[in-house]
Structures are given as C-alpha cells and as structure tokens.
C-alpha cells in the first residue's frame, strides 16, 4: 500500500535521507525507531508530501506522491497524520477541529460531519469536551482529539510522528491505548516512536534508522531478540536498560 523506493533527501549539503526503501502492506503496523536526527520524522513526512524528496519515489496505493503531477491535497485527505505537538487548531472548538476538513475537503454536510465527529470523540471518551477549545484539554486528551481529527477523514492509512514524546509520562498510555485499538481494528499504520512496549505489542515490523539510512527492517520479534547491526543493539540497550 505504501511503497518507498530509494528515497534520498538533502537539506543543503546535509543528507537527511540516504536511499531509503521499504514497503508497507495493507493492515500492517510498522514502527520506525532510531536515535534522534536519524531521519525518521522526515521520512514519514515525505509519505504524504509534507516534505519533498530529491531522489527516489514514494507511492501510496499506486499513486506517486513524489510526482509533480499528483494532486497532493486529494492524496493527503486519504492519509491521516498525527503530530508530536498535536497541532489542533487553537482558535476552534474540538468539534470544529474535527469538522473543518470533513466539510471543506470531503464536502460532507454539517450534520454528517457532526455525527462523525461525535462518534469518534465518544470512542476516545471525550464527548463531554467537544465544545471546548484545545487549550482547555490536557496533552493526552489533545492528542486523542488529534487522532480523531485524522480518523474523521476515513483514511486508508495513518502516520504517527512521535505521538507521545511531548506528553507527560502519566498521559502516554491513554494515547497508546487508542493507537493499539486502531491497530487491532486493522488500520495500516506507520509510527515513529520510542515506545518499544507499543512496538512489541502491536507492530508487525520494526524499521531502525540511523544517519538517514534504514539499517534494519525486520519482523518485530526478530528485531528485539536478535538485532543484526551493532547500532541497533546499542540503541536497544540504551533505550531498554532502565
């Protein structure tokens, strides 16, 4: 479903991605991890064209993201994205946050958009907050809303860019629980995260990146029990040993 092939990207002279390739099948959950600055977030942003690439191609359901002729806005409406800092619109209520793109992009009626918003918000247990503004919610609540905003578009795949790294520790699980449920419902997911517990529990594969390259791309169990590369072993020992 998502096909990344030989993707390279530079910021000036600095190479952030170095011929990265991987495939994500429908219903698959792939966790991308690695030290900070390894290019994980950049790679995931290339998948829906928020960042452009200089070399290589990315296809989503056969549509080339990297082609200039592709209608990016249409493609993006089919891929949900969740950000590290939530990025809810602060001047709108939760309801308006969830309805905006439904009405403006999918051209749903106000009633349709509203009932979809209520259904999703209810699923994450925040229905009573639907008329509030994002600033009145905790970080964990905001991130759950952000997941709902993406889901409201009925995406074929979801991208998560470090969804829990801006959260206080006690709020991480409420967000991970929503993501685990989503994974079990069969959503195709690409998740950049340091939450190895989450990876173990729901990921089909783990992609390990370092210095802009994909160093390992392995089934979850193999990655944790028998990492091939020195760098992955080093990373795992640092992140798991405390």
């Amino acid at each position: 479903m998502i096909n990344i092939s030989d993707v390279s990207k530079w910021y000036g002279d600095f190479q952030v991605l170095n011929s990265c390739s991987t495939n994500i099948e429908k219903g698959e959950v792939v966790v991308i991890c690695g030290p900070s600055g390894s290019g994980k977030s950049t790679l995931i942003k290339c998948v829906n064209g928020l960042e452009d690439v200089q070399e290589g191609t990315i296809h989503v359901e056969g549509i080339p993201v990297t082609s200039k002729r592709t209608n990016l806005t249409k493609l993006r409406s089919r891929i949900g994205m969740v950000f590290q800092h939530f990025e809810l619109y602060p001047h709108m209520t939760i309801r308006e946050n969830l309805c905006l793109a439904q009405q403006k992009v999918l051209k749903r009626s106000r009633d349709e958009a509203n009932s979809k918003a209520e259904m999703l918000i209810n699923r994450v247990g925040l229905l009573e907050h639907i008329e509030k503004h994002p600033g009145q919610l905790s970080g964990g609540q905001q991130q759950r809303v952000a997941i709902c905003r993406a889901l409201a578009m009925d995406p074929v795949a979801m991208l998560f860019d470090e969804p829990t790294s801006a959260l206080d520790p006690e709020m991480i699980n409420e967000v991970l629980d929503v993501m685990i449920e989503l994974a079990r419902d069969g959503m195709t997911m690409m998740v950049v995260t340091h939450e190895m517990g989450f990876a173990r529990k729901v990921a089909d594969r783990v992609v390990f990146m370092d210095n802009g390259s994909i160093v390992e791309d392995r089934p979850t169990n193999e990655f944790f029990t028998d990492p091939e590369s020195e760098r992955a072993r080093d990373f795992l020992s640092k992140i798991l040993d405390h």
Binding site: R76, M81, F83, E87, Y89, L100, A101, R149, A150, M153
Partner: protein
C-alpha cells in the same frame, strides 16, 4: 492677554463635532481598507510566486519611503487625472490613507502570518486542505488574533495622521479647531482643547491595547 475663556468651545460644539466625525470616519475606513489591502499584499509577498512577491515588496518599500503628506498630495492630483473627473477631497484623502496604511499593515500582517507555527500549516495540509483553505481557516485567524494589539496601535497612529488632510482643505477635527482658534482669537484655549481630545482618544486606545495584551498574556 485675557484669561482663558473656554466658552468658545461650547459655542462651537456642532462645528467641532463635524470635524471629529470626519477624523474618526477617515480613521475607521482607512483601517478597514488598509487591513484588507494589506492582507492581500502580505499574502502576495508570502505566495512564493517571484514576480507577485516582488511587485508587492516594491510597492511596500516605495510607499514606506515617502512622507504621508506627499502621498496625500499625489492622490489628490493624480486620481482625477487617471479617472478623468474630480472625486473630491474626502475620497482622494481616503484612497491615499488606505494605500499608504496598506503598506504598513502588510508588514504587520506578514509578521503575524509568519508567527503561526509551521506545524499548524502541516496539520491543515495533512487533512487535504489546499493552500487557500489553510490560509483562510487556519493561518489568518490565528495571525489576526496575535496581531490585534499592534493593529490597534497602528490605528491610533493613523488617527493622529488624519490631521494632515488640511493640505487638501478637508475639515477634520484639527483643522476645525484651528479655524475657530483664529476666527475667535482664542488660540490657547482651542489648541489646549484639541490636544486634550486627541489625548483622551489615543490614550483610551492605548489602554485597550494594554488590556488586550494582558488578556493574551504577552
């Protein structure tokens, strides 16, 4: 010189009020027009289209390098030449103010737009909103909310600048005060009164700005 006689003011209240109304109207209309055109100029400069951005930048820099009084003269003499008929002092002054203020507002608005976090734009784009929808629904509302204090401040400056319209013989508050001062021979009283009124209006405006800033926590 005889002692102060503020009776001259109460006798001329209708005349003074006419002048003040003109000053206020000119300010309000120029602020609205200036913000509207200033927003367009700001969006042009940030559009990423080279020729469009250059045109807007050229306009802003040209206007900002010229004294306001010259711009008022220009439009007074130029506009009738361009459209082939006189449009009157008020409209030529209004156009001059709008075009002049648009240059200043566009710089404020450009900074406001740039103050909106890039993540907000990404969030909008990620849900499939196009460039204009992102600007209109996400960026501009937040930019304006951040900018309100400084937009009001610019409005206060504009209100003071409207006193320059005497050069195209419009009777704004300052001009009216000055006429009364000279015809009644009460220069001190009228200029003290005029200063007082400007102070009350502008200082109230400043208080509004301060409260807005407090409410925003900046």
């Amino acid at each position: 010189m005889s002692s102060f006689d503020f009776g001259v003011i109460s006798e001329n209240i209708p005349f003074l009020w006419q002048g003040l109304k003109l000053s206020l109207w000119l300010t309000v209309l120029s602020v609205i027009g200036g913000i509207a055109i200033g927003t367009i100029l700001a969006l042009m400069r940030l559009s990423g289209m080279r020729s469009v951005a250059l045109f807007a930048a050229g306009y802003v820099n040209l206007i900002r390098s010229i004294p306001l009084i010259l711009v008022i003269f220009w439009f007074f003499f130029l506009v009738p030449l361009v459209i082939g008929r006189p449009i009157g002092s008020f409209y030529s002054a209004l156009i001059a103010f709008v075009m002049f203020e648009a240059a200043y507002y566009s710089e404020i608005i450009r900074a406001g737009i740039q103050s909106v976090k890039k993540g907000q734009i990404h969030a909008g784009q990620a849900t499939g909103l196009n460039y204009w929808q992102v600007q209109f629904y996400i960026v501009l509302p937040q930019a304006f909310r951040n900018m309100i204090p400084i937009l009001v401040t610019q409005g206060i400056i504009l209100f003071q600048d409207t006193s320059l319209v005497f050069v195209v013989s419009l009777r704004d508050f300052m001009t009216v005060s000055s006429i009364i001062a000279r015809t009644e021979g009460r220069l001190a009283e009228m200029y003290v009164f005029a200063a007082f009124i400007y102070f009350v209006i502008c200082f109230s405006g400043s208080l509004v700005v301060r409260n807005l800033q407090k409410a925003q926590g900046t």
